[in-house]
């Protein structure tokens, strides 16, 4: 199995109904062996992919997110993937500044007949995510882990009592 140490990571895929979902289906019908980390969410079009879906997926614990749609020029709704391309490029910067490695995110175009290409995309992207390992989560904060009462360092400045709190554990 290509999956490292037999351990799966969480990869979320947002696929358009017309091309990439069809492509994934073609790969399945053709019985092409693929890693099994990817969970697919089918949408009508990549134009429906709100970039915030991707952010939400990462903050909820995804290790990788893949968006795939029709090739430019082939969108079932003419232009959905063109809009998506702009949004997703801007999203990369947001992930970066948030501290989510943009390499954990990928968008691409796969048509319904490209079963072989789909297999390649899934294999390559899964390998990339495995190389990066599990994504960081906000486990250090007492609020997240429920370790309230852990030592907290408080630094204040100024008369309005602006504070800087830092979880120590």
């Amino acid at each position: 199995m290509p999956v490292l140490e037999g351990k799966e990571l969480r990869i979320v895929g947002f696929l358009c109904n017309w091309c990439s979902y069809g492509g994934a289906d073609t790969a399945g019908v053709g019985r092409f062996a693929q890693p099994t980390d990817l969970r697919i969410i089918k949408l009508p079009c990549t134009g429906r992919v709100n970039p915030l879906f991707v952010v939400r997926a990462f903050l909820n614990g995804a290790d990788g997110v893949l968006v795939s749609g029709c090739h430019p020029g082939d969108c079932h709704y003419t232009a959905g993937n063109y809009y998506a391309r702009r949004r997703l490029e801007v999203l990369r910067e947001l992930l970066d500044v948030m501290g989510i490695n943009p390499e954990r995110f990928h968008y691409t175009w796969v048509s319904a007949s490209e079963g072989q290409k789909w297999k390649q995309v899934v294999s390559d992207f899964t390998a990339r995510i495995h190389a990066l390992g599990p994504a960081a989560t906000f486990t250090g904060c007492p609020a997240v882990t429920g370790q309230i009462g852990a030592a907290v360092e408080i630094g204040g400045i100024g008369e309005t009592g602006e504070t800087g709190m830092k979880a120590a554990g």
Binding site: N60, R86, V90, G156, A167
Partner: protein, 320 residues
């Protein structure tokens, strides 16, 4: 009162009879603070003040005054907000009279407090390129260029892009020498993991008051903000940095291609969370990808409302 302010009062006095209200600033409850002033009478005009301590972006009030005749005192950055609001048809040019003032930077009171080591501030006197702060422990003289708001260090338009009246155009650079490191500079120098920890630490303090959103002139959804909607349910109610950072991502993406970097979100945050940096990063990317800056031209099409079949600056990537 500076010559600037005198001139401004004179200009507004002439126009006041034709206007329902004029938006300006006055001093706040102490010399560190400023507050918006809604001028309807000559007496109100006596309270008007302007200068580096007067920091609010008054354009944020314009959409709620749509349909009325409004005058507004406007610095360079504020004028970009006005242009953005015009572009989005949230206000009408014919109803607005712009009193432009050339800006020499807006003071970040958090930076002032930091510079005086958190000593209790008694009074502040800004003049020219220095600022004198009297605290319980003594007097500090600071260089103005060290205590400006982050947005001022990347400002390219000190003079309003549009105006009906102009008070003393000023051409001198407001940051003549080296600028201190901004939050975005600091983030740029970090590894992704450090950045993630940076936000975890900062967002842990967020009290979800949404002042950042309420102060934003471009957050115009009023009671329909997705932050408080159950359907769709974008945010849950848990008190975690995860949900709070998610909101910052929502704000940043909802204003992507629209945000003019006016800095109100960051200024309004009662917890001192540097929420502007995320938006500045997106703007930088949008400038690079689409050669576009929000609030420069009311006739242009926002970059995320359009596309090109061949995108010059977007390269196909490999999944490997």
């Amino acid at each position: 009162m500076t010559q600037h302010t005198q001139e401004l009062r004179k200009l507004i006095a002439q126009e006041l009879p034709n206007l329902d209200v004029v938006l300006a600033w006055t001093h706040g409850h102490n010399s560190l603070t400023s507050t918006p002033l809604f001028i309807t009478t000559q007496e109100d005009l006596e309270k008007l003040d302007s200068g580096p301590m007067h920091v609010q972006n008054l354009a944020a009030y314009l959409p709620s005054l749509k349909g009325r005749k409004v005058g507004i005192v406007t610095r360079g950055c504020d004028s970009r907000t006005i242009i953005e609001l015009l572009q989005e048809k949230l206000i009408e040019r014919k109803n607005i009279t712009i009193f432009g003032i050339s800006c020499s930077g807006a003071v970040n009171i958090r930076a002032v407090r930091r510079a005086v080591n958190g000593e209790s501030v008694r009074s502040v006197q800004a003049d020219g390129d220095s600022i004198t702060v009297t605290t319980n422990h003594g007097t500090h003289t600071l260089r103005m260029q060290d205590v400006l708001m982050d947005k001022c260090y990347t400002c390219t338009n000190q003079t309003p892009i549009i105006h009906d009246h102009m008070v003393i155009a000023q051409t001198a650079d407001h940051v003549p020498g080296d600028a201190p490191q901004t939050t975005l500079d600091a983030l740029d120098s970090m590894e992704p993991g450090e950045r993630f920890a940076f936000w975890e630490e900062h967002m842990d303090r967020c009290i979800r008051c949404y002042a950042c959103r309420n102060a934003c002139p471009l957050c115009v959804c009023k009671d329909s903000c997705v932050a408080q909607s159950r359907d769709p349910h974008w945010l849950d109610q848990s008190d975690t940095p995860r949900e709070k950072l998610m909101f910052q991502a929502i704000h940043a993406l909802h204003s992507a291609g629209r945000c003019t970097e006016c800095g109100e979100c960051e200024r309004a945050c009662p917890m001192g969370i540097p929420v502007l940096a995320m938006k500045q990063a997106l703007n930088r990317r949008i400038k690079h990808l689409f050669d576009y800056q929000a609030g420069m031209d009311a006739q242009s099409t926002p970059p995320l409302f359009m596309f090109r079949q061949q995108e010059e600056n977007i390269k196909e990537r490999d999944a490997r």
